[in-house]
């Protein structure tokens, strides 16, 4: 154990990736996408299903339910069939010893404006922080990544922060 603790997991190559911005990807917010997401969560507020109700409540169209940042455009030439994301982006440079297990540590979203059906969001991601910590499951690598969503008017509307744990 002391030997494992002596060797840091984080390498200089990993540190160098912090802040490197990804190629932009497109995420579409459509009435169908909003309804499908809202239905799968079990939302009951008609604003997520009925455009007239949404407008009466002050939205431009169906609002994106919390956690929904549009549907990434899928193209089998570029996207992963299981997770939908761009293939080949991978976890980036490897730590000093292989870590095979991955946990989703958490999700956070900050909103700066309404996101509604009809919006087309451009998403750019980057790693904002890499930490290592010893926990009950041993030495863990904790990667914080951020994705910025900008709408068709060039306005930053949301930032999603994800925490990945590898061990």
């Amino acid at each position: 154990m002391t030997e494992a603790a002596a060797e840091p997991l984080i390498t200089d190559a990993m540190r160098a990736t912090i802040g490197q911005r990804s190629e932009p990807t497109i995420s579409e917010v459509t009435t169908t996408g909003v309804r499908m997401f809202a239905r799968s969560v079990g939302h009951v507020d008609p604003v997520f299903y009925d455009v007239e109700e949404a407008k009466k409540a002050g939205y431009r169209s169906l609002p994106a339910p919390a956690g929904y940042l549009g549907t990434p455009v899928y193209d089998p030439r570029y996207n992963d069939a299981t997770f939908g994301g761009r293939r080949g982006q991978g976890p980036g440079p490897q730590p000093s010893r292989p870590l095979t297990r991955i946990l989703n540590g958490g999700t956070e979203v900050e909103y700066f404006d309404d996101i509604c059906a009809g919006d087309v969001l451009t998403a750019v991601g980057y790693t904002s922080d890499i930490q290592e910590r010893a926990g009950s499951i041993g030495q863990m690598l904790i990667t914080t990544s951020k994705t910025e969503y900008t709408n068709q008017d060039g306005k930053l509307v949301a930032v999603m922060t994800g925490t990945g744990i590898r061990y």
């Binding site: 996408g33 499908m36 997401f37 809202a38 239905r39 799968s40 969560v41 079990g42 939302h43 009951v44 507020d45 604003v47 409540a57 002050g58 939205y59 339910p65 919390a66 956690g67 929904y68 549907t71 990434p72 899928y74 069939a81 299981t82 997770f83 939908g84 946990l103 989703n104 540590g105 958490g106 999700t107 956070e108 979203v109 900050e110 909103y111 309404d114 922060t161 925490t163």
Partner: protein, 137 residues
Amino acid sequence: MANWAEISEGQELPVLKKNCTSQQLVQWAAGSGDFYQIHYDQDFAKSTGLSGIIVHGALKNAFLGQLVHDWAGNNARIKKYGCSYRGMDLPNEDILCKGVVKRKYEENGEKLVDVEVWTEQANGTKTTPGFATVKFL
């Protein structure tokens, strides 16, 4: 629908009770685009060492979003919210989404409320602690 004037610190949000069928997990896979098989394929889930299929963490995050939306209504907007995934939840078991008002304040001309939110199993175990900051219009 919550009314800013009537909100007070310590107030509890109405509990939102969820109990995921495998059908709901399939709907979520389609709605979110996450088709990882541990959420709908028992054999696959077991082959990875799980006891069976498990509820998506991001679905619980969305449940907490619904909890806050249903309480705050459309005269409010979620400014920021998030949660940590500390434990697994299984289909066909109750997931109680709960929240409590921690702070009510005005900042930069905005009427804000911070709430603590979480999901809880029937035995009281909290698997998804989180928070939300809500802006009232």
